[in-house]
Symmetry: C4
Amino acid sequence: MELIKQIRENEKKDKDDKRMRLNVGGHSFETWNSTLERIPGTRLALLATLKEADESWDSERREYFFDRHPGAFMSILHYYRTEELHADQNICGNIIKGELEFWGLTELDIEPCCWGQYSKFKDHKETLAALDDNFTSQIDTECAVWDEKPSSLNKFKKQMWVFLEEPSSSRGAKGYAVISMFFVVLSIATFCLETYESFRVPINSTVKPINNTGLHLVQAATGDYCVKDKLLDMVYSFTDTKPHIVMQVLDYICAAYFTTEYVIRFFFAPRKFYFIRQPLNVIDIFCLIPHLIAIILVTVNPNDSTSQLFKSMLALRTVRILRVFKLMKHYSAFNILVYTIKVSIKELMLMIIFLLTGVLIFASAIFYVESDNFNNIPLGIWWALVTMTTVGYGDKVPRSQGGYIIGCFCVICGVLTVAFTVPIVVNNFALYYAHAQSRIKLPPHKRKELKR
Amino acid sequence: MELIKQIRENEKKDKDDKRMRLNVGGHSFETWNSTLERIPGTRLALLATLKEADESWDSERREYFFDRHPGAFMSILHYYRTEELHADQNICGNIIKGELEFWGLTELDIEPCCWGQYSKFKDHKETLAALDDNFTSQIDTECAVWDEKPSSLNKFKKQMWVFLEEPSSSRGAKGYAVISMFFVVLSIATFCLETYESFRVPINSTVKPINNTGLHLVQAATGDYCVKDKLLDMVYSFTDTKPHIVMQVLDYICAAYFTTEYVIRFFFAPRKFYFIRQPLNVIDIFCLIPHLIAIILVTVNPNDSTSQLFKSMLALRTVRILRVFKLMKHYSAFNILVYTIKVSIKELMLMIIFLLTGVLIFASAIFYVESDNFNNIPLGIWWALVTMTTVGYGDKVPRSQGGYIIGCFCVICGVLTVAFTVPIVVNNFALYYAHAQSRIKLPPHKRKELKR
Amino acid sequence: MELIKQIRENEKKDKDDKRMRLNVGGHSFETWNSTLERIPGTRLALLATLKEADESWDSERREYFFDRHPGAFMSILHYYRTEELHADQNICGNIIKGELEFWGLTELDIEPCCWGQYSKFKDHKETLAALDDNFTSQIDTECAVWDEKPSSLNKFKKQMWVFLEEPSSSRGAKGYAVISMFFVVLSIATFCLETYESFRVPINSTVKPINNTGLHLVQAATGDYCVKDKLLDMVYSFTDTKPHIVMQVLDYICAAYFTTEYVIRFFFAPRKFYFIRQPLNVIDIFCLIPHLIAIILVTVNPNDSTSQLFKSMLALRTVRILRVFKLMKHYSAFNILVYTIKVSIKELMLMIIFLLTGVLIFASAIFYVESDNFNNIPLGIWWALVTMTTVGYGDKVPRSQGGYIIGCFCVICGVLTVAFTVPIVVNNFALYYAHAQSRIKLPPHKRKELKR
Amino acid sequence: MELIKQIRENEKKDKDDKRMRLNVGGHSFETWNSTLERIPGTRLALLATLKEADESWDSERREYFFDRHPGAFMSILHYYRTEELHADQNICGNIIKGELEFWGLTELDIEPCCWGQYSKFKDHKETLAALDDNFTSQIDTECAVWDEKPSSLNKFKKQMWVFLEEPSSSRGAKGYAVISMFFVVLSIATFCLETYESFRVPINSTVKPINNTGLHLVQAATGDYCVKDKLLDMVYSFTDTKPHIVMQVLDYICAAYFTTEYVIRFFFAPRKFYFIRQPLNVIDIFCLIPHLIAIILVTVNPNDSTSQLFKSMLALRTVRILRVFKLMKHYSAFNILVYTIKVSIKELMLMIIFLLTGVLIFASAIFYVESDNFNNIPLGIWWALVTMTTVGYGDKVPRSQGGYIIGCFCVICGVLTVAFTVPIVVNNFALYYAHAQSRIKLPPHKRKELKR
Ligand SMILES: [K+]
Ligand SMILES: [K+]
């Protein structure tokens, strides 16, 4: 039999070989001396070639002893046997990294099939540790200036700052946070609803709704039974109305509250310049300024509600919606999202670039084929994006044979582009979220221990 | 060579060190005494520092014996070597938890890279055990009152209750469940179809359909070839018709059946108040009351079918569709869904909040840019939600340059928001479903053993 | 220190205990005798309680020897220590199953956290083995009748059957398969294109296209600039045209080919009744019969092309599109899809039921709120389904405040319902596909070995 | 007790059996001689049957020694015990492959439940190694011709080629790459914007926009309040305008730059024919030729801007958008995408075929049911594709009962088809991307070591 022959041959060449016994952390490994010589320049090859008793030699038990991880050593020893380094899947890549260094090997020798698992662990260690840091309260470092020269004023300032910033610090702080959130919600609700028909009153009621009789006449005359809807759209005009007085009052109350809050928080902020640069505080200022200017304008010249400046101030108030981010301040999931986006900015760009490439190509193609329908390429870009993301408004639709064919390709490419890129962007969020959640589940005193 | 030097140095400092042999569950581990001293306050550090024979010392074999898990100990011992605690990936986190406690370590020392796998096991143990409990029949605990004082009446009551509640208890019970389901389906089908044109008859046939000749005349006169559809919409009017008499009869039959069923089930229910509060029974009552009131009204005053109360009773009948949940009662997947939603309520809120934030911002932006097209922010919210979820009705579409640009961002943010948050909400359902399915596959007597 | 005390106490109670040494497949495990007694009725508990030398006792080495899997035993022994059975993640569940049986334990003792991984392996073993069988050629079993009584006719019949059924058997068989596929594609292409304007000729050309001058007059008269599109729709009428003569000839050629093929294949089929019931052959018959009847009708009465029977035969030809499944016959991915759907039928029902529940509830809600827009519940069902699956045609859209709110809920519930249920349905397909692909990559002679 | 009996029986038949001790890489395994005989023809069976001392016999320690992987051997030995080969999950399939070969076993004996993990590793090794090669710079192999006969000219040519091709080679090369990209972006931007209304001027301004007063008159006369939009579409006509002179100049500059660049790169290309065939260079030529011909035409005959050739040249310029791929040249993610698509071409076909099958069936069905709405099957195909991918433009929507039902099935099948097939196509991209990213994170000198 072939197998027997093969066996005999194998053993012949091993004849003059010495068997090496390695005790790694209490587990014993054995191999031929010649095996260890196969990868020169490494710790084990040195052991094998020196052929002399070295410090790790235990003459009593006739073995070499190394105080290392026995599990990882199994893979490492097998590297000498097969000249392929496969890392064990159940041992953390960071352990393997350390062992590889000890044995004088390089991580680059890890085969591609096992590299992924290995490097995943290394990456996670860094990013997740950074994530843990991200959730550490920075109040102590912020207030270091005050802690250095402790006076009763500084002590009070720190107490107030903790009160303002850390809702979990005391009951009062929690109450304050709730009130603050209530005003943010109130401000946003006011802003959204004051644009809504039912909350608006006409400035001067010259436009009268056409009664039904009139409507029927118009319909009879024009033969257009859709006229009612069209007329209704004309009757109600946004620019001829103003928000109800209650909405305006609520608006002023919110403005007053946010101004006061900003001033107080600025006063107690330990590092003023750092405070001003914080994104949420920048938003605060952005929301307040147009409001305050508008109030000043009205006070100065009450009748002039049509000046250009006043109007642009009104328009700028839309920025106020950004206050929604203030709600997110103490919401860990949002912070994780921001962290994920920061870390995955490259992947996000990847998605945008892939989408853009597809969109440009299909926009040009549809413009080439249906230039009467898609008058210009920017319109084609709008259509292609809406199609590729499977939104499909239907405001612009191909109408010719060629257009249909391009549309089909666009749809399929869109589905694939989204499917290819989105998981890569999103990938880490689930991991980070799960990590943060399992940290949050720990009791508070344990979490503190964590924050080394 | 540098490596050799490094090796020599390493071994020098170990010279005056003692080698410790630890027998953990039969597997032998060896390390230097100095290694064990590195993490003070733990069981192994005590062993190393005491330098005296302790109870676990086996003088014969010159080793310490511990009756613990040898696999987990490999990671634990490596913690002493590298001062980084990496948990083994293939050992359940709950084993590791127990071992860490025994060796005097804390789970907080686990590195972030291995924490996820570790805490996943801990979580699953709890949630899946709760899921198993969720599927345990509670009839025995419910009927405990009757079991305490066993009389023939109580025995009969319990038999009846099991018959009504547990379709798997007997053939008759199964038959009853099927009949009950049939009436639910009949009730829903009746309700849906009685609104459909073909199943309705006119109350008084004053409105006559316009014949085709007339239609052509109208079209010729107005030049509006869409007129036919518009007219048809006018001809058939929901309020001028009533459901066919057969539908009404079916309706009454269902009402009678559900009333009887509720009364009987209430009579045999072991805990009356608990019974009334059950969601499915609340739905039953909600569905029945408007129906019964309507019947009483008709009996009292047969001609008055236009009174306000009668009309509102008719409207309230829509609630009847909730009977669809009665079909779900014995459907395990639905119970798993409910359980998942209960457990993932936080993640669901996350999705809603993220969507809402995006929706509010884009609604404001589109309102700011196209205030003539999007008259108010609530309309913008509708558009933004429909766009972000890629539904894209197309009833409201941006029409200007600025609107297109905001639309593009809205679409991309929508795709990402959904992609970021949905997997987190959905995540556990697949796990719970797979778990429940593999439990269901077990033969019934085995499943009972499970329910400890 | 507390830890020291605890250690002392632990060891005291172990004092009068005996240490057991178990050699499992060459790996040694040690534990206290008392530990093994903790789970009574199992093999190890018996060993511990009998306190006598049993057959597995090796007096020389003073240990019990078992020829079992040492890896799985680590978990099993730990069950005695902690009374919680956690299965090792890297050992196949089927190995664990066997070991549990040997040691007298039940799989039901596995903790929920490790149950999933364990039962996954068990499931996969069954379903994937079934999948492997699914791809085994059944020609040999089919032709068993002929093999029993070998005559030259039967031999020829078998050769022909292999030729017709197994494209990989010979070059000629491959050629035949290609020709057969060509005719299927031709048949489908003919069918699709003969409905298209460019491939149709008018039956009698009474309807003349209106020239542009006429169009402008109509536009001027009616003031409707959309009239052109409307008129064009009228000018081209499907019923007034017939397919081009070339299409008809191709149609007849395909019909002739498929008839011949069916007859030949029927003749050589080893099991006639089994052949007739095969889904693909049923489709063949369904496609051919209307065609043949139509031809007979034309032959009998050439002028009567308007009879009801003839028309319904024409309509029935639509069934012909099902021939597309004939293309799939030799396409392994399609067979995997069919297998997946068969296995996941329960999950598919789950998706349908969840969608249906949602659809019914939202249909009722929208009907309740906007009964003037959504005239009946079936229409609401259409809208709800189109919305929940994020298709969003926009043919029916809510128009009131209440409708918008219901629409928002419908959209979000839809996204979630799809996200919850689709992964569960789809789950196995990727696994089966990957499995089948890795099997297909094996060289053919190896694949045969596999099919035990 | 039954268990005891069973135990006794088991041990009886083992009585006359010999215990074998196998030392595999230092780990000891023990089993009965009879166990090893169970799978004949393998290395271990030979060992057991020969019953003689073989070369691997270590008489001193009374065991057989094999210098192999002890972890994998645990599974292999268990194969002899249970006759089912389950591979360990945490050992790379490539290690298992080698061990199986050594022990005389075949990978085909691996059970289906463990096959997936095993073959995954094998696949990854190949595809990921190919991916690594894909990113290796090929400049050295390209320039081999010049390196063979080193002259100062050849040296300069190589330097220039490296400068042109490898932006990371020097600062200047980086600068050149940036300039090159800038021109690509400029060219694309010019192309897109020159079609946009604001960047176009009328050729001869005969068409005057209708003023608002006129509009109101038209509206009043026709009763068509949509007339404004329709008129606006007529007023602005693409063919009556030409791009602004600035756009044209930018266009010429880009053309000049790309021509120069192509000529220079062609001059320095080491292998001319290979250079010409490169996809990106083919695109370059395709983009330039229509441009150059147009310029020549204008030079020859400046007034004739309406000739057919000139017009078709203008149209062909759309190809220019393909220059977007030139941006991708140095973008690794794009190369990974191309590689993924190359590797997954089979899976991509799978998706297309499944979609096509669904589309054809639903197109026929909707054509059969609503032949007045869907005039021909190609239109039905468009509708079915748009529905199945959940784009849902709403330009064609079913309008009858039957159509609604088919629409519902189409939507659900679409969602499922996409969900079934897309993950399979996309599957590998995330893996390849993660692999490439972890490679890119390595410091450059390390990456070079990798490229063996
Ligand atoms: K859509
Ligand atoms: K849509």
